[in-house]
């Protein structure tokens, strides 16, 4: 795990800067609802005021439970979604409202790897063709032979060797791990700077996971990549992330370097999340009780701190005042009124 030692003050070191970004999705209403509600519209507060930066060359992890907004945040960063409010900068450029050709040009530099490679690959397209397809769009000047060569090179790089053999294979003819390698190859063929990896190894078996993590680490070094790694699995995050942000109900509750976060979690939610992760050692079974209830409805999120209805430390202040992210330790910010007691 190489920890990035870039000074935070130089804005040029940040590949991505996200400031106060919100994404609200309107709740679909039936005809009757519309008549009765008379102009009232509910929103799902999927992402509700999130700020962070992704430093060049790092793996920034976003972790949280389902419904925390981590995937939506990822989609906002690569502009698959347009924010409701806030700004997003990529490599110094404001991309918050970019559209059309400008957005397409940007896409060459940011690629996505999803959880299910079978759903990401066209079942009727040979792997080599699928990998070269991105170049057709982003590098139309290349000849067919050049494109073929680049796809072959990329297949070798992701360990699908001999590449000539895999070039003509279809997704159903190869294993799940090999499919995910093909998806990685397709993402890298346009030479992106940022990879959004949304649960890229969640479906793989443990032995395959280790290989994919290793591949992602190795490619990151080779291609100078920056990853936004979205995961619900904090144990997996340990093997790839440099820094981690914990999300809860549309808010970022804590951000720190990985070892710092795992050894000194300051937010009660982060503490619960870390304690809940099962450890493969029967001598170290969990003894802590888990917080009450489950993640609330994002249409009407709780006022104040969103975790307060489940929080063992909650006071009156927590029900009223939404805690801002505060830097309480070096390179470690947390959004909790009571975090001081864990310092």
């Amino acid at each position: 795990m190489n920890v990035q030692s870039v000074p935070q003050t130089q804005p040029a070191d940040n590949l991505v800067e996200v400031r106060d970004v919100k994404k609200w999705f309107p709740v679909q209403q039936g005809v009757l609802d519309k008549l009765l509600a008379a102009g009232h519209q509910d929103y799902i507060h999927a992402v509700d005021g999130v700020s962070f930066e992704i430093r060049r060359g790092e793996v920034f992890g976003l972790a949280g439970e389902s419904g925390s907004g981590k995937s939506t945040t990822g989609r906002l960063v690569v502009r698959m979604e347009t924010p409701t409010a806030g700004t997003i900068h990529f490599d110094g450029q404001d991309i918050t409202t970019l559209g059309g050709d400008e957005l397409r040009r940007l896409r060459r530099r940011m690629q996505i790897i999803y959880q299910d490679p079978m759903a990401s690959l066209n079942p009727r397209m040979a792997l080599g063709e699928a990998i070269g397809y991105g170049l057709k769009i982003h590098a139309p000047e290349l000849s067919d032979a050049e494109r073929h060569q680049r796809a072959i090179d990329m297949l070798e790089k992701v360990g699908l060797s001999p590449a000539q053999f895999f070039y003509g294979k279809f997704p159903h003819q190869i294993s799940g791990g090999q499919r995910q390698r093909a998806v990685i190859a397709r993402a890298l063929v346009t030479r992106p700077s940022l990879i959004l990896a949304d649960e890229p190894i969640a479906m793989a078996d443990v032995s395959v996971r280790a290989l994919l993590l290793d591949l992602m680490n190795q490619l990151k070094r080779e291609f100078n990549l920056t990853y936004l790694f979205i995961t619900h699995d904090l144990a997996t995050a340990k093997y790839i992330c440099d820094r981690v942000g914990i999300m809860y109900l549309g808010k970022l509750v804590e951000v720190a370097e990985l070892r710092e976060l795992y050894s000194h979690p300051l937010h009660p939610y982060t503490q619960a999340l870390l304690a809940a992760v099962p450890v493969p050692n029967p001598h170290k079974r969990r003894t802590q009780a888990m917080p009450e209830g489950e993640i609330p409805n994002p249409i009407h999120p709780p006022a104040g701190c969103r975790f307060h209805p489940r929080c063992p430390l909650a006071t009156e202040e927590c029900a009223v005042e939404d805690p801002p992210l505060r830097a309480l330790r070096p390179d470690h910010t947390v959004a909790c009124h009571h975090a001081e007691r864990f310092l």
């Binding site: 439970e65 078996d205 443990v206 032995s207 304690a275 992760v277 099962p278 029967p282 969990r286 489950e294």
Partner: protein, 334 residues
């Protein structure tokens, strides 16, 4: 660790059980000559990678198998071979003795039936003479035990959270006093905190009601967290079985060793790199000769490619299916 299996009551005995799927590509040996016991009041984790036969084996314990599958061997429940049950015996066995929970509770629950209707139906199917009021009373008592509020009985499945739906599924099993719950990836789609609470629930059921839980999962850390024993399957065969303490502390089968070393762990003091196991599981229409793991095994002996080892004890009730621990091995090696 402290209790030995000798003083425990056997609930299910699986003896030399095989399941072969007839496919267009020929017979596929999904479960191959597996033998093991399940005791009363224990939690056993059945682990392995996709396609190792763990789900097939779990379903087979309820005799759920597609018609084109060929089942041989014995599955004895209280001395009776369930493979020979007729339809009535089987229906009774499935509800009252064993129940199963799957990964996605939404596909197991009826979306247009309320929770109380589910529970009452389950009771009345098996005990037709039970009046509704009595059935409802049992449902109420049960739901409280599973930490679901009573008003939730009037909810439809879509109104419940994922964790609550799984609790209702557990409830459907318990309402008839089943003594074995087979949980097939039952916590996989849940978030860690909800999952942790469900594990606590399994532990409680075992401690208070003496329920046996067979937890089928790909998540080995879960097994360390909650199970008494662990059974590791590879390519349709039982590779290793023993108490979680013995197996996690000193895994014997090279596959178990590799598997455990490739499990991510959150503790910072442990190794920074995961073990990377070479190769892939075999195609079960043409499994390798001898030990099915030998083509991937870093410690393979000449005999491993020729003859299959037996599942034999290495210590107490810790059994391993590997030539490294059997007498033939030394002869074959030298």
């Amino acid at each position: 660790m402290t209790t030995t299996t000798a003083d425990k009551e056997v609930l299910i005995q699986v003896r030399d059980f095989s399941l072969i799927y007839k496919t267009r590509l020929g017979p596929l040996s999904a479960v191959d000559h597996v033998s093991f016991d399940l005791y009363k009041g224990e939690i056993v984790g059945l682990v392995g990678e996709s396609g190792c036969g763990k789900s097939t084996l779990g379903k087979a314990l309820l005799r759920m198998a597609p018609p084109q599958a060929e089942l041989t061997g014995q599955i004895l429940f209280q001395g009776q071979n369930i493979l020979q049950f007729d339809d009535d015996q089987l229906r009774d066995f499935r509800g009252r003795c064993v129940s199963m929970i799957f990964q996605d509770p939404m596909t197991s629950l009826n979306p247009v039936q309320r929770v109380d209707q589910h529970l009452i139906e389950a009771i009345q199917v098996h005990e037709p003479r039970t009046p509704v009021a009595a059935a409802l009373e049992r449902a109420r008592a049960l739901i409280g035990r599973l930490s679901i509020q009573e008003r939730r009985l009037k909810d439809y499945p879509h109104q419940l959270s994922g964790g609550m739906r799984q609790r209702v599924m557990i409830g459907l099993g318990l309402v008839l006093n089943a003594n074995l719950i087979i949980a097939d990836e039952a916590t996989t789609s849940l978030d860690v905190i909800v999952e942790a609470k469900l594990l606590d629930q399994f532990r409680e059921l075992r401690d208070e009601l003496g329920i046996t839980v067979l937890m089928i999962t790909h998540n080995i850390a879960l097994v360390a967290e909650v199970a008494d024993r662990i059974a590791v399957m590879y390519a349709g065969q039982m590779a290793e079985i023993g108490s979680v303490y013995e197996v996690f502390d000193a895994p014997r089968h090279p596959y178990t060793q590799g598997l455990l070393a490739s499990v991510p762990t959150i503790s910072l003091d442990e190794r920074a790199e995961l073990f990377k196991m070479g190769g892939e599981p075999p195609n079960l229409t043409h499994p390798p000769q001898g030990c099915r793991f030998h083509p991937r095994c870093p410690q393979a002996l000449p005999i491993c490619a020729q003859r299959e080892p037996a599942l034999q004890p290495v210590a107490g009730d810790h059994l391993v299916h590997c030539w490294l621990y059997q007498t033939h091995a030394s002869q074959g090696a030298s």
